[in-house]
Symmetry: C2
Subunit: 491 residues, 2 copies
């Protein structure tokens, strides 16, 4: 993969002088068109060996383009707020909004490759990382991002020459440190491992461009021209995203998971009170556990039919918790900052630090429920959401976050009864809108969407709990009991 980046390609000064102004102006025009259209974000990943001109090129891009609409992100040691969350959180928070260019200097490639080079981490683990990266970039591309990944290469011989040259120059000697020479020693291993990763992650929607790093003029023009061409191609067809993934077959018709539920399961008041005290007490103890505070967090997702009692169930959970350690995130329409980002961005931003609970009142499942049924999302978008969601939850679980998802199910008759009751009661009136009545007409479509959702996203690491909710007492206790069980098993 690196052979053609060791040919000693250069760009002579005269050609450069002639080409550079045209290239710059064209780039600036393209960037401005991107900014005006706000159609998609551009994600530029910069990787490669030391001394191959990564920093210089990024600085040149900033000088050539309008730096006001570029966000350059360098990833050094993670901050403690970053360490307290899954590894990908720091990249999600740095994603550029639509219309802007985000340069990732050091990226999701750095750690997986280094781990292998330094002998930490097995081959299997690397494959897993590579898989995750591929799915992440696939998601970005599906969301419309234009992704370009540049790998700056220098041959071992040129690398050595460069260090020697620097050391000779009294003004530049400071730039060469011991670790530079150490890195030269592991050059071959670094080359092997990175070539492997590059090959496995070189995709049409997120291609690697290997850049020969020896000649400054050559590499700058190569990178600039690649960005310009890709940008212009996409601007010409801003809606042409990567091809639709083959849709999965719809879930088998006939019997479904909801039909199997005994919605009427009930507790009497006395049983309820006793169980409530028991499980709220248990949850409180678990939430104060030292191990929990050190290594875990809880994401509790509440979905359910309208009027199924989500609010009441959430309240029985939060009553057991210290207000300092939980946050409820009600999901309504996205803000304009959220609309400028990939769909899952607005959930990533709320991930709790260790020891904390984040409770989502409705969630990312809106994509495959209301957005699917009402047609707010295109079919290709809600279809790919299943696997994106599974990836998202897997990343959380891998970090130690306990992902508990509750579907509160009530029957159609019980829902009608509750709607009427709400219309009659003062402080509950505001909970009922005309939309709620309208949604009932699509009951069967929702059933299909719910069953598909459960079929496709109930995973070992983040299972759905179907909660029979015609009886509120039963529902609340089942939620509390499940939550306690999940935390207990994690500790």
């Amino acid at each position: 993969m690196f052979e053609s980046a060791e040919l000693g390609r250069t760009l002579d000064k005269a050609t450069y002088k002639k080409e550079q102004p045209k290239l710059r102006e064209a780039l600036l025009e393209a960037q401005f068109a991107l900014y005006e259209s706000k159609a998609f974000p551009v994600i530029v990943v910069i990787g490669g060996v030391d001394g191959a001109g990564k920093g210089e090129t990024v600085n040149a891009l900033n000088a050539w383009l309008d730096p006001r609409h570029i966000e350059t992100n360098a990833f050094r040691e993670p901050s403690d707020e970053e360490r307290d969350r899954p590894p990908m959180w720091r990249f999600w928070r740095a994603l550029p909004p639509k219309g802007k260019l985000g340069i990732f200097f050091g990226s999701w490639y750095t750690l997986p490759i280094l781990a292998r080079v330094e002998g930490r981490g097995s081959e299997d683990e690397l494959e897993q990382r590579v898989d995750e990266v591929n799915r992440f970039e696939r998601m970005l591309a599906d969301e419309g991002a234009l992704i370009l990944k540049f790998w700056f290469h220098l041959s071992k011989r040129d690398q050595k020459k460069r260090l020697k040259r620097l050391e000779k120059d009294p003004k530049l000697r400071w730039r060469v440190t011991k670790s530079d020479w150490q890195r030269l020693k592991i050059y071959d291993r670094f080359r092997t491992e990175s070539e492997h990763v590059l090959r496995r992650t070189d995709k049409a929607h997120a291609p690697w461009i290997v850049v020969e790093g020896l000649d400054e003029r050559y590499r700058t023009v190569t990178v600039a021209r690649t960005i310009l061409d890709a940008l212009n191609r996409r601007l010409a067809k801003p809606n042409e995203r990567s091809k639709l993934l083959a849709p999965r077959p719809p879930a088998a018709a006939g019997k479904n998971v909801l039909e199997g539920l005994a919605l009427a399961k009930a507790l009497d008041k006395d049983q309820y009170r006793k169980a409530l005290e028991k499980y709220q007490g248990a949850l409180n103890l678990l939430s104060r556990d030292k191990k929990f505070h050190k290594r875990h967090a809880v994401i509790a997702v509440f979905e359910g039919n309208d009027a199924a009692g989500k609010g009441g169930a959430i309240r029985r959970v939060t009553e057991a918790l210290d207000a300092r350690y939980y946050r409820i995130v009600p999901i309504a329409a996205p803000t304009d900052e959220e609309r400028a980002q990939p769909y899952l961005w607005r959930f990533w931003r709320h991930l709790p630090r260790c020891g904390h609970f984040t409770i989502f009142d409705r969630s990312w499942y809106g994509r495959v429920l209301v957005e699917r049924v009402e047609g707010f999302a295109a079919e290709r978008d809600w279809r790919r959401a299943y696997s994106e969601i599974n990836d998202f939850e897997e990343e959380m679980a891998a970090y130690g976050i306990i992902v508990a998802k509750f579907w509160l199910a009530i029957g159609k008759d019980e829902q009608a009864r509750r709607f009427k009751e709400r219309e009659a009661t003062g402080h509950k009136r505001h909970k009922l809108t005309e939309e709620d009545w309208r949604n009932r007409e699509k009951w069967d479509l929702y059933v299909q969407a719910i069953c598909d959702m459960v079929d496709r996203t109930s995973t070992e690491v983040a299972p759905w709990t179907l909660v029979e909710a015609d009886d509120k007492f039963h529902a609340r206790i089942k939620v509390l009991k499940t939550l306690c069980g999940r935390i207990e098993r994690s500790l």
Copy 2:
């Protein structure tokens, strides 16, 4: 101040049982009205002695109200991202948006009081903190926030009783630690210092409510009722903010700072090239200084007449910097998340960490320039902006951030010339809008606004640099030279 909170007030069970449901429903209705109107945020500060029921009350509020629209913030040890910024940053980032309730459990009061109690920090320093707090809360109130501050009190005798009672109970014994008894020893000092701070920060727009913490029913109902009353009063008159501060006298008419500028100051190309190399080199060195990376950051603000060459000057600065260490923030219309916050919030969120540069292309001065002249901000709002901005910049400077502000001034004729040139040049066409021509008609109003701005916000810690910009070479060099000088003096 605490005497009336040592009377042993209680609320009997029967009264509580009768009152509580009504109070709860009224609170919920008021909270819902607040959320629907999105008219203002509610900021509830919780302070006081240990064991006086702070946590229990916050939990009760979360249980009584709709917890989905409450954000409870506890402030423990600052994270490293917080330590890398001025002390108030962590509170700004936690401010609730309009329509929501933010509970600050531990707040901007905690550190100033503790510093005095523990013998760190002089009386003068405390007064300074108190002043800052008063101005911060004044700003919040002016922005429309409803502020309620609760101080939970227990007499020393009751405090001791409480600890002894807990120690006797085998189930609760774990709650009493050594530091609880130590804190009892410094009770008197804590009482004196906090009483002093409370008295000095008790304002009509941000009142302290001292709550006797002995009886759970009494304290919960007291806090809930206080919030309910204040909320309902404000909801009845959502636009009634605190009274207008007496406006400062306008700047003296006649001679002004802009008139004194020799706009035509110029450099020839050769002088420019030499100076550019010199100062960009110096800036590069300074930006890599170890001390700078450890303790300083730069905020550079660029304002100026339309077409004064802000973009070009910024570019000459960033050319000298490593792209990983700067970010340019172009200020355009606020996002909807920003509109739901106090005016300065959208600038606070961009404060750089140590070692970084943040360059604002237009800035918070929009308030007293375009918003004033075009009438986008009410007079009372832009008038109070001067002192709010001075506070903001003082906080940054106190932390070690170098605040450099540049006004790029060109003459009316030179501006006309540049507009016409832009109309003619391809890639500069998009820089010119009809608005630019319209703004020229208000030239004199802008002159008045600029002079007022410089008069009122050019401070020792964050001076304005007026840059004669008819000649671009001169302007760019003056900017670079000034910036270098400012950083040098700080190191």
